[in-house]
Amino acid sequence: MRRLTLIAVPYLWLLALFLVPFLIVVKISLSDTALAIPPYTPELDLREGWAGVKEFLAGLDFENFEFLASDDLYWRAYLSSLQIAAISTFLTLLVGYPIAYGMAKAPEHWRPTLLLLVILPFWTSFLIRVYSWMGILATEGYLNQLLISIGIIGEPLTILNTNVAVYIGIVYTYLPFMILPIYSSLERLDGSLLEAAEDLGCSRFSAFWLVTFPLSKAGVIAGSFLVFIPALGEFVIPSLLGGSKTLMIGKVLWEEFFNNRDWPVASAVAVILLLLLIVPIILFQRNEQKQREAEG
């Protein structure tokens, strides 16, 4: 009896506030836009019994998805989200790997402090971390002031409100997610393997590519997914740092819902975004499982 309550409480909570809402999104994505409250048809009328259900089902169709497929705004938004997420994941890896490597090679008594320094930004507000770049990247911002005063450029660069600013924002805010898994795989690395490689005539550089990097691959893959998956649906970064030309699907969904008040289309955008995420999520799970098996 007690066991049943223990299972039932969190189970029912998640059913009511996670699964059911999601099914509502799927249902509304199949409905039609209407000038009514709520602004879509058909509505399920259970008072009419089975006939009501049948009528409701007959009213559903894939019109919104056909609309999404026909309007190239959505295609471009999906593709550009994929592109922005992929490029920024790669850049985060380029920035994060040397930091993780340096941490793993640092004297042992430094490591807890370095680790704390990587985790600290994660606890500070995401919004504030994104906002802090607005002052730096603006036309009259600190970066342009610095570059002009030391004479590298004559005219201020336009960085804020471009995709470059979005890349910087994603790299900056998601960097801890890349550093931590790479660090934990590098820290476990057996130093004698590198000594063996050097004894066998490897240069330090080729020892890195032949020994260290392959052994840290699990961390690299985990870190890349931890950046790529949330970056794909990102809303705050493109809307604060990106320009009007920055197309990201999270922003499109937001505007479709709040500005155009088109609930069925917003729901259809959400369904497709989720379908897009399923592949990377499954790959990520598989990588995690493989790692667990390798350890266990």
């Binding site: 223990l6 996670f18 930091i99 704390l116 320094l117 507000s125 906002y131 607005m134 819902f257 989720l274």
Partner: protein, 271 residues
């Protein structure tokens, strides 16, 4: 003792400069007297004063803290239960669905979570306000809590619980007297994580908040959309300060309790 090579030193210096410089600049410029945010006009605490007189921000801060306390507490209770179910309850009908519903919100884009909860609240005719934000935050935060707590439960020696049961404890007493003290650090860090996630959330709160309740992130977002503002710099500095003090003292406390524990173990070994 290994020494740092020049490459590692450079990587660490540049890396941490990149992580911290933007926040340092923000803090420094929050004491700027000038209204032109990017031009230094002398030291002043003027914007902190303006912030303290800004009722809208103070109201929003109060709503945010209320929501965070309620949702993180609820999420900790539900998340710990869920972790217990995942690790201890064995097989039951619908277990796969259950663990799926625990892990899915962790990777779900916030825009989708927000949209779906809003459509639910509208569907059942619930007035949007503090309560709806609490429900929404509890739902996604409980999944984080259950991941944190279940990783501790997995490594937990089950025979301790069984011993308590053999000695006549009821299952609830065994949980309260044996299990809970052992998993307490994980439960506390789960609560802190849930609290921070709630304080920080903009997207889900924007969908589920009604006109009667505005949280601080919603307020900040609508202010900074128009550009950098000195008041927001002051507000950010306060928030960064609170987090820094909190995280550093938490890590010092856990370090001290670890030292004490190892000292006790050494003392026990000697006797």
């Amino acid at each position: 003792m290994r020494k740092l090579t020049w490459f590692n030193t450079t990587a660490l210096t540049l890396g941490f400069a990149f992580l911290y410089l933007p926040m340092v600049i923000l803090v420094v410029y929050s004491f700027n007297a000038s209204k032109l945010v990017t031009v230094w006009g002398g030291f002043s605490t003027r914007w902190y004063g303006e912030l303290m007189r800004n009722e809208a921000f103070l109201d929003a801060a109060w709503v945010t803290v209320k929501v965070a306390v309620m949702s993180s507490t609820l999420a900790t209770i539900l998340g710990t239960m869920a972790a217990y179910v995942l690790v201890r309850a064995g097989r039951f009908a619908g277990r796969t669905l259950f663990s799926g519903m625990i892990y899915a919100p962790l990777v779900m884009p916030e825009v989708i979570t927000g949209l779906s909860l809003l459509l639910l609240f509208i569907g059942i005719g619930m007035d949007r306000g503090v309560m709806t934000i609490v429900l929404a935050h509890t739902t996604f935060a409980m999944c984080y809590v259950s991941v944190v707590v279940s990783s501790r439960l997995v490594s937990f020696d089950r025979s301790l619980e069984e011993a308590a049961l053999d000695l006549g404890c009821t299952p609830f007493e065994a949980f309260r007297l044996v299990t809970l003290p052992i998993i307490a650090p994980a439960v506390i860090s789960g609560w802190l994580l849930a609290f921070t996630l709630s304080l920080d959330d903009l997207v889900i709160a924007s969908f589920t908040a009604g006109p009667s309740a505005t949280t601080l992130p919603i307020k900040i977002f609508s202010a900074v959309r128009l550009g950098v503002s000195p008041e927001i710099n002051a507000l950010s500095t306060i928030m960064i300060g609170i987090v820094t003090v909190g995280v550093i003292s938490a890590s010092l406390i856990s370090k001290r309790s670890m030292l004490r524990q190892s000292a006790e173990e050494r003392a026990a070994d000697r006797t």
